[in-house]
Symmetry: C2
Subunit: 195 residues, 2 copies
DNA sequence: GCATTTCTGGCAGTTAATGCCAAGTAGGCG
DNA sequence: CGCCTACTTGGCATTAACTGCCAGAAATGC
């Protein structure tokens, strides 16, 4: 622990986060101002912006860390595993590493119901996608080769995220009563199984 | 023509649009302010915001109309056509109905190079997706039925858009030298063909 | 032409976000 | 323990995207 600084900072961050999520749930995202959050969490507006660069980061801020985890997990899957299975393994790890399901559900609903938040969330996801493409391309048997391997990798990654997104949205609308991994498998099956 | 108002409005809108795209290309999206666009297009800032609700709409504003067209086209495909083929037909129509390829290329580059624009663009597209889901669900043979038809439809639509997005990005990075429809087919093949 | 409708422009205000500087606080060192 | 340095915090000013309001101009209908 590099110091007391870091600890009190953690405390402040947590207080801000709790206040923000509570206020967002109570009054909606757009109706809640940064000033109000800062006041109730007892920090200055200026510090709040130092901890969280933007208002949106209050909701989808810790995505960065998850993206790193996802990438590392996919990289570390055995080489003979298919791109699809490796990505699915990464997805699985993220699920277990996520927030307590109670809060995850609340955050998901907030994100899917608030256009500006949804956009920012997608933006972060696009960054993950870009980082995953080289990892997936390395895993593709460069045998067939008619579709350039880059095209293949991009399409696969984009599709997986589309399915994750779809599954998450369904999961949120069903109040978390259906298993998220099951929903993901159903989505992928709908796409990949030829009837 | 309901009036002279409508015509001069169209002129103003076009002037704003041209100015905006030119400035965005010259200096980048974030570095261009609304004030500058309004000044150079010779309209007041206030009117600019009346024509285009947000800065982002200057770039991806006319998506609404395309979404309508897409939906209608997909609906009108013969009933025995598969969901995949119907969506592909809709995509084809949009391609031809789009801007002159010169400007389309410029806009695509802008969107894919500017994270916040890209996110907003996808968000608008998500609205199309939601509208297409019932259309696609109606087209699914409700035979198999283990994955709820709604899940199936959502996943298929999301995947098709993911492939459109990927194809468009590749098309823009190749300066439009590769046929967009070909790229789309390659993306879909990478996803659907089991090797 | 004149009243009415509709649009435009300017102005003030709100909110998110950033830079700057002064003041405070923790950590290391004699 | 006291002091100096490094880092952090908070307040202030500023910018940029937007919104509401109102007065005035322009177009329309009679």
């Amino acid at each position: 622990m590099t110091t007391l600084w870091e600890r009190s900072r953690q405390v402040a961050v947590q207080a801000i986060l709790d206040t923000a999520v509570r206020l967002f749930a109570e009054q909606g995202y757009e109706q809640t101002t940064i000033a109000q959050i800062a006041r109730e969490a007892e920090v200055s507006q200026r510090s709040l912006f130092r901890y969280f660069g933007t208002k949106e980061d209050l909701v989808c801020g810790d995505q960065e860390a998850l993206g790193e985890l996802l990438k590392r997990t996919v990289e570390q899957q055995p080489a003979e595993m298919s791109a699809w299975d490796a990505l699915r393994a990464g997805f699985e790890v993220i699920l277990t590493a996520n927030h307590p399901p109670e809060r995850a559900l609340e955050l998901s609903r907030l994100i899917f119901d608030t256009p500006s938040l949804h956009a920012r969330y997608i933006e972060k996801r696009l960054r993950w996608q870009a980082e995953l493409v080289p990892v997936i391309r390395a895993r593709l048997g460069n045998g067939s080769g008619r579709p350039a391997p880059d095209t293949q990798a991009k399409a696969i990654v984009a599709t997986v995220f589309a399915c994750i997104d779809t599954a998450t949205e369904l999961w949120a609308t069903h109040d978390g009563r259906i298993d998220l991994a099951d929903l993901y498998d159903q989505c992928l099956a709908a796409v990949r199984d030829h009837s």
